[in-house]
């Protein structure tokens, strides 16, 4: 077992903290002579108390992985049958990633069915304005609000079998039947369309055309793009998988290192931000 190898046995400080006070005298004496025993005891304790083994110590990675899965949860906590990505957790995580000196890049793995517009756009804006390199990878599906998140990263990949569904926004709940409701909906949709077109090479008109296309989805309006289609249309940069995404991220990290303090990614941000307002 990897976690019991000679080097790792020496690291007994962390598990010792978990020892209950009643048993603290004996293990501490043991720990001084034979670190293996206390390590094993900590492991057994971890199994009995949490029903899980301790994750074997790994070499420290300079890349952080964030998986955006299921529904992107907004201001309402969704019922428990949904798998959700909680924006109030993801956003501070992005702050920590941006701030942490040991993390140099972020890999965003997407397999999501969509979710709250504002929460999705909030995550996308955070990713967009991060100074550290980020690469997105769509696996399975990156539907609806996942698209802004995918394009917000510096570079995007899509698995060849993954799909992106582009469809119009819909209002839920009580809708007041006045023309202004339509205008409001249009405005909300524009936020998404504008963000996606600003961060990819697709035009707003083309994206709207895909959004309102009929005949592609059964009983619905919109388009399903499979892998290479999303690349051809300029939404995603490349078709690829895990190794491609990590290689691209590594390249971006090397570039950033090479640029040093005068990294060109930092001055880029205000000009990109200004572009949104136009």
């Amino acid at each position: 077992m990897f976690y019991l190898s000679a080097e790792n046995r020496l690291d007994t400080k962390t598990p010792k903290i978990r020892m209950p006070e009643q048993r603290s005298v004996k293990p501490q004496m043991k720990a001084a002579d034979s670190p293996e025993l206390s390590e094993e005891e900590a492991l057994t304790q971890s199994i009995t108390e949490f029903g899980e083994t301790r994750v074997p110590p790994q070499p420290v990675s300079n890349v952080h992985v964030m998986s955006i899965i299921g529904q992107i949860e907004g201001h309402i906590i969704l019922p428990p049958q949904n798998k959700t990505t909680k924006y109030e957790h993801v956003i501070p995580q992005l702050v920590a990633v941006e701030q942490s000196p040991s993390i140099e890049g972020l890999l965003v793995v997407l397999n999501t069915v969509g979710g709250d517009v504002e929460a999705g756009l909030a995550i996308a804006e955070m990713l967009d304005t991060m100074s550290k390199p980020s690469v997105s990878l769509i696996l399975g599906g990156g539907h609806s609000i996942a698209l802004p998140i995918a394009v917000s990263c510096k570079y995007g990949f899509i698995a060849s079998t993954a799909t992106v569904t582009i469809h119009p926004l819909r209002l839920s709940g009580l809708v007041i039947g006045v023309p202004q409701t339509y205008e409001y909906l249009e405005k909300m949709q524009d936020r998404v369309v504008k963000f996606v077109s600003d961060h990819s090479t697709i035009t707003q008109d083309k994206l709207r055309e895909l959004m309102f296309r009929t005949g592609e989805l059964v009983r619905d309006v919109g388009t399903v793009l499979v892998g290479v289609d999303a690349v051809t249309l300029g939404l995603i940069d490349e078709v690829g998988g895990l190794s491609h995404a990590l290689q691209a991220l590594d390249k971006l990290i090397q570039e950033k290192r090479g640029n040093g303090q005068e990294g060109n990614s930092i001055p880029e941000i205000p000009s990109e931000g200004g572009g949104h307002l136009q």
Binding site: P79, H89, P92, V95, S100, D116, V117, L169
Partner: protein, 79 residues
Amino acid sequence: MILYTVLPLETVLEGLEQERSFVDIQLQGLTLTVEPISMEEAVIVRIISTDPLHYLNPQFSPGRKIRLFKGFSSGMTML
């Protein structure tokens, strides 16, 4: 709230009426919102902290089950 999703809204929102009760607890110096699932266990719903590093700590990730018991202090503790 506008949900922009490919799933039918009925599927997503099914069971929304069911009331869920959350409690805020103090654990290792930070506040957590948890959903008790039994007398002894609770599931972390949200972290309330201004330290971004708390959000990277897998011990406090939402969905994690924690065991509660009344300690010597008034707070609840993780085993």
